[in-house]
């Protein structure tokens, strides 16, 4: 393999991995706080992409404004989802919330089929994002550089919020001991709503970038990225934001590079992720960055 070709694969992997990582953050944050796997997370990604699609076509919004509206709309949806489907089940056994999550997922997908129809729609890619440029002999689209760049900025912003702000401190506290955090006066439900808002906004951002990279949207477009990102979150250690990002990147590289080096295996590409999940669960269920702190009695 030539260096140029390798570089192309490298940037493709970086793009895909960034998207997985960005989606995985939503799973990991909600899991970290509520021990809930939010199966509907992938569907928020799909809705975010549709919001931009309709924003630009139906309402003729300029691109940047449509993106902002879509991200805000998705964040609001995330908050509503928590309020309607998960908050009433906060004290119920965990399996109830899990079932509710599956129901929300089916509901959003079916709703999308009804409202948007099941027809895949082509997404218009702005010329400047996809016109090939050549860097060091590698032929790249600006998009493959933009996606990792945007991801890096979003992740940096998120880490700042979680580790350097007051709501972030509350999120960290809730993830370990919800009752004690409440006892200290933290409005726990508001912080949880904020978590859903952030996770959903990131999902929408990745959905929009996904639609630019693979320019077609349909009501089930969130399902597979959602599964993969969930696997990335488990791989990285569910509950850990850094783990989600690194798990996403690694999964992106594993998928792209195996196919690049062993083209015969390309038919099994989607299977790698699930094999990885099984291996991680068998060998190191807490993932790469999953922590186990012993409690003092």
């Amino acid at each position: 393999m030539t260096l140029e070709l390798f570089l192309q694969h490298f940037f493709n992997a970086l793009t895909l991995g960034s998207l997985y990582g960005l989606i995985a953050i939503g799973y990991t944050m909600v899991y970290g706080i509520l021990r809930l796997i939010n199966f509907a997370h992938g569907d928020i990604l799909m809705l975010g992409a549709y919001f931009v699609f309709y924003g630009t076509t139906l309402f003729c919004l300029p691109w940047p404004i449509a993106v902002v509206v879509a991200i805000i709309g998705s964040a609001v949806l995330g908050v509503l989802m928590d309020k309607i489907a998960y908050r009433p089940l906060r004290d119920a056994p965990r399996i109830s919330a899990l079932i509710s999550a599956i129901a929300v997922s089916f509901f959003l997908e079916s709703l999308a089929v009804v409202v948007f129809t099941g027809l895949p729609r082509p997404v218009h890619q702005p010329e400047w994002l996809v016109s090939i440029i050549t860097i060091g002999g590698a032929r790249l689209m600006p998009l493959t550089l933009l996606v990792p760049g945007v991801t890096a900025i979003l992740v940096a912003g998120l880490l700042y919020i979680v580790y350097h702000t007051k709501p972030g401190l509350a999120m960290q506290a809730i993830s370990k001991d919800i009752e004690t955090t409440r006892m200290l006066g933290v409005p726990v439900d508001k912080i949880i709503a904020l978590t859903f808002a952030i996770g959903s906004a990131l999902a929408a951002a990745s959905g929009i970038m996904w639609a630019l990279r693979y320019p077609q949207i349909h009501p089930y477009m969130g399902v597979f990225p959602g599964f993969k990102a969930f696997i990335a979150a488990v791989f990285g250690g569910i509950g850990s934001i850094q783990g989600a990002v690194i798990g996403g990147l690694l999964l992106g590289f594993i998928e792209i590079m195996t196919v690049a080096f062993f083209p015969d295996l390309s038919g099994y590409r989607d299977a790698f992720a699930f094999i990885l999940l099984v291996v991680v669960l068998l060998v190191k269920p807490t993932g790469l960055f999953g922590e186990k702190l012993k409690e003092k009695i």
Partner: protein
């Protein structure tokens, strides 16, 4: 400042608190003494809003002459806003946050950054070990240090009433003395204290008033000094 009338707590089929009435006057130290499972923590947790099925009256009069406010039924996150703070049984330190962050969390409801910084210093003055360890993760502190942090964290919301659930549990004898000195000190600063203790002797020595609980009911009450001399109390809780 706090009056509890006919408090009942049920956990499923267990009737853990059976019509307890307590009175906690402003500026006093009141202690609850009782064997394991007597219902002490249940009472304290009911005041804090942490027990869903608690019934009865928990009336708070924040300032002399105010209309009493019913606390039962209010969410736990309102407690610190009502001027009540809890150092819970088992300490409940957030293990992955630093000592300083645990203290900051205790001051969640406050916006006065300078005041918070000053109170963190005040806690470090009370417990100098915590100052040395301010960057250490809560989970890596020794049990005794965690206990100090739990008490310090409770002070961070500037409460009028501090509830301490077994603050001397697991402490070395010298630290037990220290913690009781600190409780007395907190009280002298004008804070009302509700103290739950296994160490009946120390608790009764500093308490203005004591309630003795047995399987969910108050069986005896009176000033701390009198309880120390009470033969029944001596036999059951002070080892004769």
């Amino acid at each position: 400042m706090l009056k509890i009338n006919d408090l009942h707590v049920h956990y499923g089929g267990i009737h853990a608190v059976k019509g307890v009435s307590l009175s906690i006057p402003r500026g006093s130290v009141v202690t609850l003494i009782g064997a394991n499972g007597a219902g002490k923590s249940s009472i304290i947790r009911s005041i804090a809003g942490l027990v869903k099925g608690a019934k009865g009256e928990v009336l708070l009069t924040r300032h002399e002459g105010d209309q009493p406010v019913q606390l039962l039924g209010q969410p736990a996150e309102n407690m610190v806003r009502s001027g009540i703070a809890l150092s819970p049984e088992g300490r409940r330190i957030l293990p992955h946050l630093s000592v300083a962050e645990n203290l900051q969390l205790g001051a969640w409801c406050r916006e006065d950054k300078d005041g918070i910084a000053k109170d963190i210093e005040m806690v470090y003055d009370l417990f100098p070990r915590l100052r040395e360890r301010s960057w250490q993760k809560g989970g890596t502190l020794s049990g005794g240090e965690q206990q100090m942090l739990a008490v310090g964290r409770a002070l961070m919301s500037q409460p009028d009433l501090v509830m301490l659930d077994e603050p001397s549990l697991g402490l070395a004898p010298i630290l037990v003395r220290e913690i009781f000195d600190i409780i007395r000190h907190i009280n002298e600063q004008g804070k009302t204290v509700l103290l739950v203790e296994q160490n009946a002797f120390a608790a009764l020595s500093i308490a203005d008033y004591a309630y003795i609980l047995e399987v969910g009911s108050v069986v005896l009450e009176g000033p701390g000094k009198d309880m120390l001399k009470n033969p029944k109390v001596r036999e059951a809780y002070l080892g004769g």
